[in-house]
Amino acid sequence: MAKKLISPVYVVSDNIDTDQIIPAQYLTLVPTIPDEYEKLGSYAMAGLPNDLYPHDFIKPGTMKTEYKIVIAGKNFGCGSSREHAPIALGAAGVDVIVAESYARIFFRNSVATGELYPYEAQERLIDTVKIGDIATIDFDGDTIEINGQTHQLKPMGDVRPVIEAGGLFNYARKAGMISKR
């Protein structure tokens, strides 16, 4: 992974639950089947109410998002345990979430799948940032720079090597916890 990521951001509010990230009717798609993985991605964030989020996360007629960074408020990913949620975001092309806090299972699933970097912000970015602003994530310094301001992010600690390895299995293999294939 590059040490820096530059991308326009998508911005969502507090308490974005997994039904909004990937609505239940798409859970029939099985993420380990490549075609269905791609399809899941194309429905990422499809559950956001249109009146609150008139701006498309994924442009109609395309499968991927232009926003590799999502800025969120508190309790991102609350609700169900569906791993489809971080997978849909990852499959849509998102690399990093920067939220004030996460629901436990979403955070864990992001790490286990290695699909996303779930960074925690130390301030409430969603009040000052808008959709389309360009941000730079510096993975070495654990910062996000946006609109000329640099904000420190909480280092991910223990879980970072798991994501960098590409998820739980690759990590467990590297660490010798399960046998190599």
Binding site: D17, E83, A172
Partner: protein, 456 residues
Amino acid sequence: MTLTEKILARASGRSQVAAGDNVWVNADILLTHDVCGPGSIGVFKREFGQDAKVWDPNKIVIIPDHYIFTADRLSNRNVDVLREFAKEQELPYFYDVIDDPNGHWTFNVARGQVGRQHGSRYQGVCHAALPQRGHARPGEVLFGTDSHTCMAGAFGEFATGIGNTDAGFILGTGKLLLKVPETMRFYLEAELPKGVMAKDVILHVIGDIGFDGATYRAMQWEGPGASALDIDDRMTIANMAIEAGGKNGIFPADEKTFAYVNERVRENGTKSSYEPVELDTDQRFVFDRVYDLSKLEPTVAMHPNPGNRALAKALEHVRLDRAYIGSCTGGKTSDFVAFAEVVRGKRVQIETYGVPATSEVVQELKQFRLGNSPVWDVLVDAGVMMTENASCAACLGGPQDTFGRLNAPLTCISATNRNFPGRMGSKESKVYLASPYTVAASALTGRVTDPREFLS
């Protein structure tokens, strides 16, 4: 140590653990269903190989329940994937929709949603079926690919929801790396007054601590009020630990627990030995609060989240289009009996759907009587659309043709556990969560209604 710490210490082969420790925990049971099972199996095969064998066939429980009674092709296929895997791995505890182990499941649209369309082994909602079929035991560790796996905490076990990747790992190894959660204690005094149910307790508490108020934590329920609750009520409460962000919810096991568990393991021939954990005197809590159950009133969680609390009596201006009773938390026999007490001899004023959690609930509702009639008939006579096909149904929306799904921007009062935007279908709909009593009273008036006026 707290109950959760004691169980995790034992399951990780240590004498002592503390909140914050990362430990490898041995699983007693892995539960999965049709939505996350195929993906978990996919991860297992990708990582351990196409011919790999699961760590222990007797510890895997597969209960299809989510998208069953739908013409959706992928949904039906997913049940077939589970059957194929159960056959290949010789899993004894696969509760198939159909009886033919070589068949394919297809829902028959012409026969409709209401009449029974499943075989003899089919159960319905996994969290309700798991204990009924003798797979919940005090002191054990249960992992499930569903956030409401925490419901089995009602039986004094550690039970938590996980994702497909973690489940794939467990399928191969039987273990998982976990962080020991801090424990919050909810000490319940006194008993519930008439008209107030277990659902009101948990909605009240989530409103109190916020719906991320228990994130990463264990919610431990204790006290005379907790002992007075029966098993169904404890399940309702433990079920919604995740609605406060909790890792697990747990009740100490007592005589009621042992009676239930012993009967179920005997009936089903499942493993009968277990080792409960007892309450220590030196427990350390990160939060400790006393709740007087006798002071609670019928409570509602308003759109758009389960922590958005109000009293039912304060919402009588809210007009409703639909009422719904069902799900793991609200579709048990006792929930339907409570509902029937309120609507007996009356007519619902809005569309009202009833989906029993399990096939056993269907049977019981047809057997048990309220006055001279079976509970089932009381409900149907009152205008409730009941289905014999136990499942998750509209609790989580699902495919368009799902029974009871909110296919338009409707306002619904529901005995389920989640009301995030779009949870029950249309993302412009609004859902109010409430107890079966409150949902029933509201169905009779077409407005959110305090049920106490209907219960003399």
